[in-house]
Amino acid sequence: MAKRITMRQAITDALREELERDEKVFIMGQEVGVWGGTYAVTRGFYDDFGPKRIKDTPISEMAIGGAAAGAAMNGLRPVAEFMTINFAFVAFDAIVNHAAKVHYMFGGQIRCPVVFRAPGGGGRQLGATHSHTPDIIFAHFPGLRVVSPGTPYDAKGMLKSAIRSDDPIMFIEHHTLYQVRGEVPEEEYLVPLDKNEVKREGTDVSIIAYAEGLRVALEAAEKLAEEGISAEVVDMRVLNPLDMEPAIKSFKKTFKAVIVEEGYSTYGISAEIAAQLQEHAFDYIDAPIKRVGQKRAPLPYSRELEQSALINPDRVIAAVKEIL
């Protein structure tokens, strides 16, 4: 039995199920309690689980990042929410230089099973500081698992796996996806944190994407199909450690690739994917590997101007046609 729910609901369900399953799991962050979460992801949790399990924090990102890591080191399973990923910049050192390092630096004595949740992305007219898709600045660092689901099914299954994992995890949500609906089974399931996969089969070109990029890629593939172009869409929901296998396999089948990400493709996630494709599937490369990402400018407030900088199916389709 399955139901169609939004990505927001899928994340809410995952959190609720894990809170109920394991007493050690708790949530901390700004406005996650009384307010119910500024994206309403934790609405009702405060009443149902109480202040011990659902902790409102001061506006103190450094302490949120560090205290969540410390609680994890000492046996709890914190899910720390950054109101948006932009504010995780303030906690950057706590995340990449503490949570991500303690297991290695102390020779395995310490484990840090913390989950950092953070919604990111542009398109909401929030201006240059509040619209980042900075996923690569986290994926760059070994020791930190970085995942970013693109469907409600994956969001629920991966978040549950993340909470049960013994490693520190950056769980990146793209807020444009919160309203997107998808099939989610009634019964419990988990999605692994180390496997990427093909989300749509095709033969002419590989469109490699994740999160909001995946949504755009699937839409583009749909339109391309109408024109008789068969695009395979590979989901890169696991960013670090990066699982390239499905992408390489797909590329060896289609000989052509367009990589799509919501953030800047320049110095972005897609740069690494392109670099690995040409290196590991060199004999199959038939055309330049294209990248579609946010245009190389800070995001402006003005709606039309901001929209002009973002990815969309047409830009993906244009890129595909360039190499067909």
Partner: protein, 329 residues
């Protein structure tokens, strides 16, 4: 540094009338924003200043010509107080090219550098060290300029606050730290976010003289700000003011308001800063009701114009996306 006794600054009827005008303009501006937001003309986050008008008006009225202003995302009022054109402000909120920030900043990022208003900043606390740096430049050049830096009660819990206030103390910077204590940071009441009983306690950790002030009375705010700036110019170092105030509306549009009671809001509305200054003018300054009505009417005209200007203004051209990324291209 010894805290000197300063004479009580005295207000004139003209001053208070002008403050009334500014406060009305702010309130009507914010109401217009709210309407235009509902109409979909304004996007992004919108944080209104309604209820807090006396804070920006009274304090900025006290600044000298070399003094600077910088604040957070709740920044419309400060722009109006420094004298920015309401039309250009509204145009910015409409995302138009004629806006103060060319449509790139929006509600949270109004600035008017010609008027020494460095703008609104949306990352909590992020503008505090900027303020310290701006004041450092004045000190470096040996001017008498100081910086009025506004921030909320919730912002005092972020590292930026700590590091910036300490630096201002260590370097003896001409900084006036102004905490707009409106009782909440989003849905979090002060005592749920701050271990300290009040904001002025925090200033003592940096040996910065601090005072709690009624933020609903524009005259009091003006007087205390005037004295604080005087102290800075007397070489008494950075100063700190905690202005007790209240935000009538939600934190931003779409606030579920689960965290406070209607009763609480009503209680605060009774000491509405506009009512306070109005009573003062009518009862103490011998101003006629008509005079105030004229002001209200004038403000209405200004706001009607502002909205029309915003409506009629052009959007930024597509190439604007790539303008102002770097100075040198």
């Amino acid at each position: 540094m010894e805290k000197t006794e300063l004479p009580e600054p005295v207000t004139t009827k003209e001053m208070v009338l002008d403050w009334y005008r500014q406060m009305v303009l702010i309130r009507k501006f914010e109401q217009a924003c709210s309407e235009q937001y509902q109409l979909g003309k304004i996007g992004g986050f919108l944080h209104l200043y309604i209820g807090q008008e006396a804070v920006a008006v009274g304090s900025i009225a006290a600044r000298g010509e070399n003094d600077h202003v910088i604040t957070a995302y709740r920044d419309h009022a400060h722009a109006i107080c420094v004298g920015s054109d309401p039309s250009k402000l509204m145009a910015e909120l409409f995302g138009k090219y004629t806006g103060v920030s060319k449509g790139k900043g929006g509600s949270m990022h109004l600035a008017d550098v010609e008027r020494k208003y460095w703008g609104g900043y949306a990352v909590v606390g992020g503008h505090l060290p900027l303020a310290a740096g701006i004041s450092l430049a004045e000190q470096y050049r040996g001017t008498d300029g100081a910086v009025l830096c506004y921030f909320g009660d919730g912002s005092t819990n972020i590292g930026y606050f700590h590091e910036s206030l300490n630096l201002s103390g260590v370097w003896d910077l001409p900084m006036l730290w102004i905490c707009e204590n409106n009782q909440y940071g989003m849905g979090t009441a002060v005592q749920r976010a701050s271990a300290a009983p009040d904001m002025i306690t925090k200033a003592s950790a940096y040996a910065i003289p601090a005072k709690q002030v009624d933020g609903m009375n524009v005259c009091t705010v003006w007087a205390e700000t005037t004295k604080a700036l005087q102290r800075i110019r007397n070489g008494e170092g950075p100063q700190f003011l905690e202005l007790i105030t209240y935000r009538y509306e939600g934190h931003s549009m779409g606030d579920p308001l689960r965290y406070r009671t209607k009763e609480e809001v009503t209680k605060w509305r009774e000491e509405d800063p506009l009512g306070v200054v109005e009573r003062r003018l009518l009862d103490k300054e011998g101003v006629e009701r008509e005079q105030l009505d004229d002001i209200d009417a004038e403000v209405e005209r200004i706001m009607a114009e502002a909205v029309k200007f915003a409506e009629d203004s052009p959007l930024p051209p597509p190439e604007a996306l790539y303008e102002n990324i770097y100075v040198e291209d």
